[in-house]
């Protein structure tokens, strides 16, 4: 178990974490564009609640920020 844990931290280099982070950022960007397109064009009559849009970006931003801090902490 100890050997596995050591080899895991050796295997996962900061570069890999940065790559995963940027893939997550890319997924977030693509999904956000798709969601915003739907919110803007496909809402039938009333508009999407602004509070929900704000919450989506705030929570996503918080997660991305936490991940970035973790990557920086891991690489130092």
């Amino acid at each position: 178990m100890e050997g596995f844990r050591e080899s895991l931290t050796d295997f996962v280099s900061p570069a890999i974490l940065y790559a995963i982070y940027f893939v997550a950022l890319l997924i977030f960007t693509v999904v956000s564009i798709a969601l915003m397109y739907h919110w803007k064009n496909y809402n039938a009559y009333s508009s999407i609640p602004k509070r929900m849009i704000r919450t989506y970006f705030l929570v996503s931003g918080a997660f991305l920020f936490a991940m970035l801090i973790a990557v920086i902490a891991y690489s130092t």
Binding site: R5, L8, T9, V12, L17, I20, A24, I27, F28, V31, A34, L35, H38, W39, N41, Y42, N43, A44, Y45, S46, I48, M52, Y56, V59, S60, F63, L64, A66, M67, A70, V71, A73, Y74
Partner: protein, 176 residues
């Protein structure tokens, strides 16, 4: 956006009952708990992690939560954009299956022949939601609107608007 005709107004706008959203996002909610279960498991097994291991675990836990959050937002968007509108002239059913996949159908209120409500089971009865079947003249299929909150109120509004639209149509044809 829906283009309403001249003098047409939206009388009632309804989405599926929140219970439907709860069921659809049940898997996502379960996935949201996974990192907490892992942390709890490691804690109860007294596994000591080094700083590096802890940071790595934290990163993947947040990544997991982030992906789950995005998935939930897609589910919520599909739920929110799935809507029925009763206007002064027609009923519009917009069915959102997934992102970039939707179906829109509509029919004139004066063509409604029969409206049936189906509330089946304990939960729909207690939470006040059910299916509304609308039969129209000339259509080869019934319109089924599933998971409507307060289906009796929905039917009452639909019948009231149908009566008004039918009276309007007959008065127009009477004046000709």
């Amino acid at each position: 956006m829906i283009n309403l005709g001249e003098g047409e107004k939206v009388v009632y706008e309804v989405r599926k009952h929140w219970y439907i959203l709860l069921v659809e996002s049940l898997v996502t909610s379960a996935l949201f708990l996974v990192p907490w279960v892992v942390f709890f498991g490691l804690d109860s097994l007294n596994v000591e992690l080094s700083n590096k291991e802890g940071t790595l675990l934290f990163f993947f836990a947040v990544l997991w939560l982030f992906m789950t959050w995005i998935t939930f937002m897609v589910i919520w968007t599909n739920y929110y954009l799935d809507v029925w509108l009763i206007t002064t002239k027609r009923i519009i059913d917009i069915e959102q299956f997934s992102l970039f996949s939707r179906d829109m159908s509509e029919f004139r209120l004066d063509r409604i022949q029969d409206v049936t409500i189906e509330v089946k089971g304990i939960l729909p009865t207690l939470l006040h939601f059910g299916d509304v079947h609308v039969q129209t003249a000339g259509a080869d299929r019934d319109f089924i609107i599933k998971g409507v909150p307060n289906p009796y109120k929905f039917r009452d509004i639909l019948v009231k608007e149908h009566d008004r639209a039918a009276a309007e149509v007959s008065s127009k044809s009477g004046t000709r």
